[in-house]
């Protein structure tokens, strides 16, 4: 098993997530893309932990998951309340906070 393959998969997933954040307007999809990026990074961490032969990367991956879970809770709540007040889940519609 070659770790390079895992890293390439991770980079691919991260790229898909980044492009998703940039081009999709639906807040839910943007959110899912962010989760994808986070997990792509987790995959890299685990791979590196395996390559180094210690548990540091695995532990960080667990931390990332905790943070991601918290973020989902807060983020989804925000998206819900925006949808309730504006009847839209488009991130481009919520653009009032500007110059």
């Amino acid at each position: 098993m070659n770790p390079t393959h895992y890293l390439m998969l991770s980079a691919l997933l991260f790229g898909i997530g980044a492009v998703g954040v940039l081009i999709r307007r639906n807040a839910i999809v943007v959110f899912m893309s962010i989760e994808l990026m986070l997990n792509a990074v987790n995959l890299s961490f685990v791979t590196f932990a395996r390559m180094q032969g210690n548990l540091d990367g695995v532990i960080i991956a667990l931390f990332v998951m905790v943070v991601a879970a918290a973020e989902v809770v807060v983020g989804l709540a925000i998206i819900m309340s925006i949808f309730r007040s504006r009847r839209s889940a488009s991130v481009d519609d919520a653009n009032l906070l500007k110059y």
């Binding site: 980044a18 954040v21 940039l22 081009i23 307007r25 943007v30 991130v91 481009d92 919520a94 653009n95 009032l96 906070l97 500007k98 110059y99």
Partner: protein, 665 residues
Amino acid sequence: MTQALQLAAHLGAAGAGSAVPPEATGVTAIAWLVLVLPAAGALVLMLGGRRLNRIAPILGCLTVVAAFVIAVSIFFATIGAGAGDRVHEIPIWSWMPVQALQVEFGMRIDPLSLTFMLLITGVGSLIHIYSIGYMEHDERRQRFFAYMNLFVAAMLLLVMGNSFVTVYAGWEGVGLASYLLIGFWSHKRVAATAAKKSFVMNRVGDFGFVIGIFIMFAEMGTTSFSGVFANIGTVAQQHPGAVTAMTLFLLLGACAKSGQVPLQAWLPDAMEGPTPVSALIHAATMVTAGVYLITRSADIYNLSGTGQLVVSIVGAVTILVGAIGGCGKDDIKRVLAYSTVSQIGYMFLAAGLGTGVYGLAILHLLTHGFFKAGMFLASGSIMHGMNDQVDMRHYGALAKRMPLTFITMACGYLAIIGFPYLSGFFSKDPIIEAAFAAGGTKGWLLGGAATLGAAITAFYMTRLMIMTFFGEARWKNLTSPDGRAYHPHESGLVMTVPMLILSIGSLGAGAFLASGERLVGWLTPSVGEFAEPHPTLLSAGVITWGNVVLMLVGAGIAYVYFGMRPVPVTQPATRNPVVMLSRAGVGGDAINETLVARPGLWLARTSSYLDARGVDGVVDGVGTAILGLSSWWKGWQNGYVRSYALSMLSGTLLVAVALMVVNFS
């Protein structure tokens, strides 16, 4: 050793001892009360506000009269003492204890300061009492008396201080009081302007005075009289230039305060103030502060021939400028003001003639204080009875309507023109003799100017008397500018009594003070031994009686011009160069305009241009650039989350690429 002895002898001859004078005892020790009483009166009246209007005149007079009583008792305690025991110091507190700069706040009670204290509080009391009547109908009496008391206090500080810095404090104080009182009727535009003019012109002189004090401190490290006079001899040996600089800068200060050429133009304008102010401040006391300063600094002036020469030239020129200025004016107070300028010129002339004749300057100062204050009060009394009209062309034949005023004015008139055996004769004649005694061309020029000035004085004062008190009653067919007819009447007792007391002074003060060298002998500890001038060019008798003849000629010409012909009620056009010169104020304003106002204006305009185009350009440029940059930059904050994400991604990639380039190259 010989040199030191000569120096010591010189200082001894110059008067003030080199050692610090003894501390005062007995009644002299409470001399500070003389200063504190009017100051307290000023404070109470200023803080008390209008509710004090009723008691203000009484309070104002009482403080000054009380100060006068104390001054008189100090005088009697001192007069019996020998020449060496007449100088006392009263240390009060350490004012500026800053390493090398040690300024003590203290008082010096010696014959010179006592003489001034008596003049200020004595004439001040009379004028305060007169003001009770003169300001009777004014809404702001409390403020008037507060300012008058402030003036008296500041003037006393000026003459009682024992260091140049203390004198300077009083100097500024009288300047402030003068400003406040000239502009007392500030609703009149001319009064407000005149006040500002006097203040600004006095600043020019204050600047000179301050520089003089700085030089003293730089050269001797002290500013107290005893310290400066003890060390000035050493400075004169090491840096004679510094002594001359001191004398010239002090003279600049004295010129501004005393209305001497080239800073005389403010004094005639100062007549916009109430008449008691003109009498007290702009005739009897404040304007003589310059003479006081020079006489007080006798030990400095004695060591600089140049300084003394400049002082006497300023005096001689001012005698003529003031006298000519008085010839063509129709405003009675302005004529008197120009006459003041001219008479102070005599005092400067005497002070500049140096060792031995300082006493004559003070003698003329005292007699002038009496007769000029009397004449100003008389002119105030005329204005009081003539709807505040000051134009003499509206007067005429007032002698019968205002007999007491006429007597006062006549006494002052006879005194000022030097009528034999009246005050002015005894004080002016020795000055003219002393001027001739200077010898050579200098003697001829100074003496000639003084003699000519005396003749012109007789001319313009006779003109004033004839236009005011004799001739036709021109006021019968005229009305004052506010449309009221004139009903000339004599003023009340509260005004006439002080006038009459002053007129006794105009008649007798000269004889009293001059006989047996009473005054000049008394002043010896302050200004040095009096030396009778011995004119070599002409004999004293020729000068004295020649002056009397010239005085009669001047008066006769005035009688021919104004007594034998009717006086026009409006100012006639003239081609007479002297009258034109006089109406133009003898170029006083032109000098100001050319020397100070125009260059100042030019400087201000250039600075303003540089400020608007240079400094403001840079400041505004920076502001505009930042504004433009930020309005372009704020466009990035567009509210679209995805564009923020893109910039974050780009930034991250940039950092990553940079790291890679650094790590792998």
